[in-house]
């Protein structure tokens, strides 16, 4: 029950409201409300980690054991996804794109959400993220062959143990060349110390990599013993080049075939930040140009302002002085809601703006409900203070029900909704709470203040 008005209590209530307003204004000015990708522009991806790739890369006996034990398999999957996430984060940092970490997404456990605010050129980013960048250097055991069948025929239909067939990407004539290589590779991606883009003797962009000390020593031994033989540099299971070993190589190699300097640089960046333990598949991609985001903000503001102006205009005409109280409550509600969003570190998105606009609707409803109730009580012959008290307390019972029902439904939106819908639900719930405060407590205080000031005069302007 809301207490009937008395001077000291009234002052205390007014001071409380003032304090809350000050805290809110401080919150809005002091902390910047963060904008979501859809409002500030940027690129986001949902990636699915193909963790079975990593399982297939394990030795046959290990893979078979994992497949039999669901708990170990789940742990393996978690591990692969976590590694993938770390590599992706390193790549994103290397590209200087964002400091926000890669988040896990959805309930399947193998999906990752990558958000890159302000980023441009989604195609390049997509390639940088999708590429596994597994670099290997093999000893060549035979080839080239025109096809897989030809290579197999050359070995009597069966590959020798410890070898496999790899192909070059299709050339200008659309054909690949096949080579027999011996496994395991002499050098792997994890043996790299550094990778840089540069240009070769004929001014073509190349990516030069350097081996770690330990791998370099190993590689020097191998090359010194195999001068004159062929070796194969392989990236993501495609042979990039088949150089002849001319001298003992200590620690550097070159990757040719980049179409541009930028591509060579991207490859170097990917090599530096490590290879993905498993492939990733883009499940969702979203690009928003900053100008579109700015437009959305402008349009949202304009729609909100137009709606608010129409509503306030009507309230003032229809409820006269009480309309002023309602307007005060509405504006204060907007301030409190923005402050609450800032204090909760919420990210404002387009659905969030929709939530704010809907909160305005709910706030209007509360005020109308209370005012209509007060009018009814006045019609029934009550005095102004009595009508106020009865109107507010009776309307409050209804308001509580409507608000709790909406909160309940928001709970389900939060439980089952996508991130965007969750933002909407959070905004709406915060708005409902601030609205209950402004439309009941603040508006009541304003009414009481007014009545108190004009003591003796008991007509309400409503």
């Amino acid at each position: 029950m809301i207490p009937t008005f008395r001077q000291p209590k009234l002052v205390r209530r007014a001071l409380l409201i003032l304090a809350i307003v000050l805290i809110s204004v401080y919150g809005i000015l002091g902390r910047n409300l963060r904008l979501g990708l859809d409002l500030r522009g940027g690129v986001s991806f949902i990636l699915s980690v193909q963790w079975q790739d990593a399982l297939n890369a394990e030795p046959a006996d290990v893979a078979a054991r994992l497949k039999k034990d669901p708990a170990a398999l789940a742990a393996f999957e978690r591990d692969v996804v976590a590694q993938t996430r770390r590599v992706l984060e390193r790549r994103i940092n290397a590209y200087g794109l964002s400091e926000t970490p890669v988040q896990s997404y959805g309930s399947r456990g193998n999906e990752l959400l990558v958000q890159l605010p302000d980023a441009r050129d989604p195609a390049r980013i997509r390639q940088a993220l999708e590429r596994r960048t597994v670099l290997e250097w093999y000893a060549v055991g035979g080839g080239p062959y025109g096809s897989r069948a030809e290579a197999l025929a050359d070995h009597g239909g069966l590959l020798p143990a410890g070898t496999k067939l790899l192909a070059t990407p299709p050339g200008k004539d659309g054909r690949s060349l096949w080579y027999l290589v011996t496994t395991p590779p002499k050098v792997r991606g994890s043996d790299l110390r550094d990778a840089r883009a540069s240009t070769d003797a004929v001014n073509q962009p190349v990516t030069t990599f350097t081996l770690s000390q330990e791998a370099g020593a190993r590689f020097e031994q191998y090359t010194a013993a195999n001068i004159g033989r062929y070796s194969a540099i392989v990236l993501d299971q495609k042979i990039l080049s088949v150089p002849v070993i001319e001298t003992a190589i200590r620690d550097t190699g070159q990757i040719r075939g980049a179409r541009s300097r930028e591509e060579a640089e991207d490859l170097a960046l990917n090599l530096r930040s490590g290879s993905l333990p498993a492939g990733v598949q883009v499940m969702q991609e979203r690009t928003v140009e900053p100008s579109l985001g700015a437009d959305s903000i402008r349009q949202g503001m304009r729609a909100g302002a137009a709606g608010l102006a129409a509503v306030v205009g009507f309230l003032l005409v229809y409820y006269k002085r009480a309309g002023v109280n309602a307007t005060l409550a509405l504006l204060l509600n907007a301030v409190l809601l923005l402050a609450a969003l800032s204090y909760f570190d919420a990210v404002l998105t387009l659905p969030g703006i929709a939530g704010i606009i809907l909160t305005i609707g709910m706030a209007v409803d509360s005020n109308v409900l209370i005012f209509e109730r007060i009018r009814e009580e006045l019609r029934a012959g009550k005095t102004a203070p009595a009508a106020l008290a009865a109107g507010f307390s009776k309307a409050f019972a209804t308001l509580l029900d409507t608000h709790v029902t909406t909160v309940v439904s928001c709970g389900f939106l939060f439980l089952f909704g996508t991130p965007a819908v969750k933002g909407f639900a959070v905004t709406l719930v915060l708005g409902l709470i601030t609205n209950l405060f402004t439309s009941v407590f603040v508006s009541r205080t304003a009414f009481d203040w007014d009545l108190n000031r004009r003591r003796g005069e008991v007509r309400l302007s409503i």
Binding site: Q284, E285, A303, T405, V408
Partner: protein, 297 residues
């Protein structure tokens, strides 16, 4: 100023007229849904890609369509204008791969002529869209069940059932109208549906609250009169609130831009239908039930 000062409309007396209108609207929507094999889902729910392109002048929609259909299957080109005079074109395709983006970009570059800028691109694979469909369904069903539970606890279970039937009625009519108008159900539209469920529930609760209060005050009054009186007492609030929220939704529709258009449209339709249903659907159900079970007469 005051509308409906002493409203004494006989709402329940003419309930069959309104129930008939509801049934007609729902049937029309359902026929359209069946004939078109379900609602027309946006790319969020069926997978695919959509590109948002802004043109400096009037977009050459026909030429874009021709250029695209020669390169890609299942492309739709939709021009959206709003009062602010922006010229947006939404190009959507069924395929969600990188190739379809390059194909659209190539086709646009081939048209030449007026200047344009690509401002947004979104592609959604089949798995994510299936997830979104599930989530949307779960959220809608869960929210309805939660509200039913709350109302059953606060009032009586028949109040909850009546309110949920009204809400289902609103959702069906809105989805049906979207199908009739051949508009897409996107994630934003589902958000609007959830919102209007909340609003419609609000309206219903305000009426039910008054019914409950009046029953306590005058337990001997026949239910038919009592419900009619309660609707009339809250009519002023119902019409004002709906009118004012409709103003907000309309301003969103008129100034909100192409991205929010579906959301605002669903909301505008839904607020209208939702107000109607709390008076003409929820209350008659309550009266009919209490009559059958011999509650207050």
């Amino acid at each position: 100023m005051e509308f409906f000062k002493n409203a004494k409309f006989d709402f329940l007396g003419r309930q069959w007229l309104f129930i008939g209108a509801s049934v007609a609207l729902m049937t029309a929507g359902l026929i359209s849904l069946v004939a078109k094999h379900g609602p027309r889902y946006g790319i969020d729910f069926r997978g695919g890609a959509v590109m948002e392109v802004q043109w400096n002048g009037r977009p050459p929609v026909e030429r874009i369509r021709r250029a695209l259909s020669s390169r890609l299957a299942d492309v739709s080109v939709l021009a959206a204008h709003d009062l602010a005079g922006s010229n947006e074109v939404l190009i959507s395709t069924q395929a969600s791969d990188e190739a379809s983006r390059r194909a659209i970009e190539g086709a646009l570059a081939g048209i030449g002529a007026e200047a344009y800028s690509i401002r947004g691109f979104e592609s959604i694979g089949p798995q994510i869209s299936a997830d979104l469909r599930n989530q949307a369904f779960l959220a809608t069903a869960g929210a309805s069940a939660g509200m039913l539970g709350y109302l059953a606890w606060r009032y009586r279970w028949i109040y909850g059932v009546a309110a949920v039937v009204a809400v289902v009625h609103d959702t069906l009519i809105t989805v049906g109208l979207f199908s009739l108008a051949n508009r897409e159900i996107t994630l934003n539209v589902v958000a609007a549906l959830l919102t209007l469920i909340g609003y419609s529930m609000n309206d219903t609760i305000v009426v039910f609250d008054r019914i409950r209060e009046n029953r306590r005050l005058s337990p001997r009054e026949p239910l038919f009169n009592l419900v009619n009186r309660s609707i009339n007492q809250t009519l002023s609030r119902t019409v004002l609130t709906s009118g004012l929220t409709l103003l907000t939704a309309l301003s969103l529709l008129l100034f909100g831009g192409a991205v929010l258009e579906g959301f605002a449209l669903a909301l505008t339709i839904g607020i209208g239908v939702g107000t109607y249903s709390s008076i003409f659907v929820a209350s008659p159900i309550l009266v009919a039930w209490e009559r059958r079970t011999g509650g207050l007469q």
